[in-house]
Symmetry: C2
Subunit: 203 residues, 2 copies
């Protein structure tokens, strides 16, 4: 029998874990949260992170840098101001650059965070969902789940207007090269095992 | 370069995906949502599900059963009434039984759903988080993110009072048998590869 519970020692009371506020799993090996503090480090260790995408212009605190060094985690910083006018081309470029880092599985497992895990993180995740062909209403629902009453219409507009076509086309060309034109399903996956899932149960 | 985008055909506009409302990833190979309708089936196909945990007493609709048959997905139904008095022992037993199905990786990937993906699903996920040693405030934050204004104090009390000790002890005994007492880290993981993550980047 296989189980998913992780145990560090025999006494469960010894290892209470504190995820950062607004923590969630986005996709296999992609996580999101607010700014992690030292109280969250034991929890973050369980994620086995390879990198962090940090979306604020402020320098990363020394104690967080020390944690990253000790865990061999790479920091990708994209300096987006807290209340950026979303019509500026700089934001588009920063989100596009962050998106390229985000979808590269060589950087996984990866944690995305800004300050509150609502607006900047929500925009980046929203653009990822567009790239995954989610319908806009579902993208917005997810954004609002994390932003709550702080939801910003200008962020939703940014996500809607964000052009993923050039990135998609770039991905398609890579995928075509990888699988060839004759393949029925042109999927480039992190783990090959997903393609052929063993079936233990029948319906 | 490895990428996580999945493509069904060359035209991205052909494959707009509609996740069920309140859809989210809970853990590796564990998902949650509201009741899926046929418009969500193409999206659900991308999850490559092996099973569904359904937490309502109402019979599963024929069109959903047909989808499950076609995808070879096993249905586990736990008949919990919509506004159950959480003090009834029946609920405790149902959630415990569902939890046992949920943590068994032989059933993964698995989707948990009830009607709205708020209360019954939120209770089950909350109990899973306790088993994972999350602190209660983080468990409650996650519950509220999905329940929103429909958040119920009695659900939070149920989660708080839910006794995971017997299940934890059972898991520990399995883990001890599996890894032996001498092991420094007693983790029983879905994928062994997680234990030895290759490092491609250095900080």
């Amino acid at each position: 029998m296989g189980l998913i519970v992780e145990v560090e020692n025999g006494d469960p009371n010894n290892a209470v874990l504190v995820p950062p506020p607004n923590f969630a799993m986005v996709e296999d090996c992609i996580f999101r949260s607010s700014f992690p503090t030292p109280s969250n480090f034991p929890f973050l260790q369980t994620l086995n992170l390879r990198s962090i995408i940090y979306l604020c212009p402020e320098p990363y605190p020394e104690e967080n840098l020390e944690f990253l060094r000790s865990q061999n985690i790479r920091l990708f910083q994209f300096a987006i101001e807290g209340k950026t006018d979303v019509s500026t081309p700089i934001l588009k470029d920063s989100i596009m650059d962050a998106l390229k880092v985000l979808i590269d599985v060589r950087n996984h497992p990866v944690l995305i965070h800004c300050k509150r895990g609502k607006h900047r993180t929500g925009c980046l995740v929203g653009c990822l969902r567009k790239l995954q062909n989610w319908c806009l209403s579902s993208v917005f629902e997810e954004y609002k789940r994390f932003a709550g009453v702080k939801s910003r219409t200008m962020d939703l507009t940014f996500i809607e207007m964000f052009d993923i076509l050039s990135l998609s086309q770039c991905l398609y060309s890579i995928i075509y090269q990888y699988h060839g034109y004759g393949s029925k399903k042109r999927r480039l996956l992190n783990k090959d095992e997903n393609l052929q899932k063993p079936r233990l149960t029948s319906f």
